[in-house]
Chain length 208, copies 2
Amino acid sequence: MSPATRRKPRKSYHHGNLRRALLDEALATIRDRGVEGLTLREIGARLGVSRTALYRHFADKSALLTAVATEGFRLLREDLVSSWERGKGPAEQQAMGVAYIRFALRNPSHYRVMFSHFVDPALQHPELATEAAAAFQALVDSIVELQRQQFLRPDDPVLMARHVWAVVHGVAMLAIDGQVCEPGAVEQLTGYALERLRTGIARTAPEA
Amino acid sequence: MSPATRRKPRKSYHHGNLRRALLDEALATIRDRGVEGLTLREIGARLGVSRTALYRHFADKSALLTAVATEGFRLLREDLVSSWERGKGPAEQQAMGVAYIRFALRNPSHYRVMFSHFVDPALQHPELATEAAAAFQALVDSIVELQRQQFLRPDDPVLMARHVWAVVHGVAMLAIDGQVCEPGAVEQLTGYALERLRTGIARTAPEA
DNA sequence: ACCTGAACACCGTTCAAGT
DNA sequence: ACCTGAACACCGTTCAAGT
C-alpha cells in the first residue's frame, strides 16, 4: 500500500463543490437523526475532510442551517409555481396544495429547518427572508387571480393566503411528525383538508 | 460575613420542590433563548444547585423536555375542555379554537417542545402519548356532539378532527414563529381562519 | 434521600501553519 | 485559495464521596 491509498482514497484537497457536498451530507444527517443530531465534526468526517474545512464555505453552524432553509424555500416556490402555471385555474390551486404537502413529505429535512426556528430569530438573513417572502407571494398571486375569476371570496388576499398557508402547513407538520401514521391516512387527510378548505373560501356554494 | 452568607443564601439542600423549580427555569430559558439555548448546567447555576442535582429528578435532558411536553398537553387539554364544557354548542367549539391558539401564544415554550420533535421520535414515553391522545380526544368529542346536533357535516369525526387540528396548529405556529407580526394580525388571522374553517365543515350554508 | 466536585467524552469555533 | 491539527471553552453525563 502506497501512502496515497489511505482509508479515504482522495486527492489532497476536496475537489470542486465541497459546499454542495456539505449541504447534501447535512440534509442526509438531518433526515436520519434529526436537526439536533447534526454535528459539524461528523459531517466533515463523513466527507473525509477536516473538521474546520466547513468554515471556508459557511460562517458557522447557523449559516449552514440558514442555507438549508433558504434552499428549501426556493425549491418549495419552484414546486408551487410549476403546479400553478399549468393552467392558473381552480384545479391548479388544488394542485398547489397537494404540491406543498408533497414537498414537505419528500424534503422533510429542508422543511424542518425552514419552520423549526433553528435559524436566527426574525429571519435576520436577508436571503432567507427574500426566498420565504417569494414563496408566500406565489400563493398570494394565485389567490388574487382566482378572486378575479370569481372563484374565491373577495377577502383580503394576504389574509386568505395566511389561512391557506396555515392549513397546508398544519397538515404537513402532522404528516412529517408521524402524527398520522396509518397507511393512506396522509393522502386521505390531504384530500379532505383541501376540499374543506376550498369550500370555506369559495365565493359560492358548489351546489349553487 | 459568616460562611453561611454566601453568594447564594441557601440552606444546605434545595428545599421542597426542586423538580418544579427545574421545570419552571427550563420554561423561562426556552422562552428567552429557545430550546437549543437550553443547557442543564445553566439551569442548575440559576437555581443555585449543582450541575448534577437535576439527575435526581430527570433521567436526562430528553426526560426534562418530555416532562415539559407532557405538562403542555395536559394544560392544553384543560383549556380546551374548560372552553367546551361551558355550553357544548357551536359557540363553544369556536371558543375552543380561540383557546387553542391562545394557549400557544401564552405558553410558547410548552408549545415548541410539544411539536418541535425535541422528544424521542414516535412518542416513546407512554405518559406523553397518553396526554397527547387525551387532548386530541377532547376535540373529537366536541365534533361528535356537534354532528349529533346537526351543526357539522357527518364525516368521519377523526378525519375532521385532524383537519381542525391542522388549521389551529398552523395558525398557532405562524403566530409564535413571528411570521405574522403586525399588531392585531394574529387576532385577525385567528378570527378569519376559524370562520372559514366553520364554513368549510358546517352541515348547511349559514345563509340557508 | 438528596446533593456535591472531579472527571470523561463530546461539541463549535479559532488560529497559526501547511500546500 | 483551500485545507490541516492543536487548542480553547463549552456541554451532557457518570461516579465516588459527602451530609
